[in-house]
């Protein structure tokens, strides 16, 4: 899936609304080393029909919980290499505190409920990345 241009996406959201005072973004990058193995490629599989609904649900939940103006999630799929961008989340609002919380919330929910799976290819072979307990813990902080 095609790459995104972070500057373009941030400027587009910001300039679309003059009542935006704060714009918080998260960019995920493929790291060169994961759990001590050198990563050659990272392949992202997803469940297309579910992905769109899951991401929309996460954004809607964020808009319900915080006073934000707009949000964007872009998630790449297919085969990526180290230093490629994986994911972009942008949240805008009148004030920074709500935008920071909503952006981190979206990332924590995306990590635990959006149907993406990573497979790493290293010199030791290919393996599926294991889900992390720290991601479950990060999500649990937001339970109401």
């Amino acid at each position: 899936m095609e790459d995104f241009e972070v500057g373009f996406e941030l400027n587009k959201m910001r300039l679309a609304n003059p009542s935006i005072g704060a714009l918080v973004s998260f960019v995920g990058q493929v790291r060169d080393v994961n759990e001590s193995d050198t990563v050659n490629t990272l392949t992202l599989e997803h469940y297309p029909d579910m992905t769109e609904k899951a991401l929309a649900a996460i954004e809607n939940e964020a808009k319900t919980r915080w006073d934000i103006i707009d949000s964007l999630i872009v998630h790449r799929i297919g085969t990526l290499k180290p230093q490629d961008q994986i994911v972009l989340v942008v949240v805008s609002g009148a004030h920074r505190s709500e935008a920071f919380k909503a952006c981190e919330f979206i990332m924590d929910y995306l990590k635990t409920s959006a149907p993406f799976w990573k497979k790493e290819a290293t010199n030791q072979g290919e393996h599926w990345v294991e889900a992390k307990l720290t991601d479950d813990a990060a999500r649990a902080r937001w339970k109401q």
Binding site: A54, S113, P115, W117, W128, E130, A131
Partner: protein
């Protein structure tokens, strides 16, 4: 009843299916019952669905728990815990 089942990631590779349409016996109406039914297909299936590893399920593109009801025409998906982002 007839349903469609999709498999993803590690589970897709293990069962060597990405999707199938099957006719279920009439007493299979929860996710747990479907997992138990699929376990009968052999060791690979039993290893996946006997509860020793975490297998998430979605019905019609919504994450569900093991007690969720399955009805005719549903699209059921099985996959490992997600690792995107």
């Amino acid at each position: 009843m007839n349903i469609k089942i999709l498999y993803f990631a590690r589970i897709k590779e293990a069962v060597n299916y990405s999707t199938e349409e099957i006719t279920l016996p009439n007493d299979i109406f929860t996710v747990t019952a479907l997992k138990n039914y699929l376990s009968l297909r052999g060791d690979i299936w039993a290893d996946l669905f006997n509860g020793k590893q975490v297998v998430r399920a979605a019905i019609n593109h919504e994450l569900v728990d093991n007690l969720a009801n399955i009805k005719s025409g549903d699209e059921v998906a099985f996959f490992p815990p997600v690792t995107g982002g």
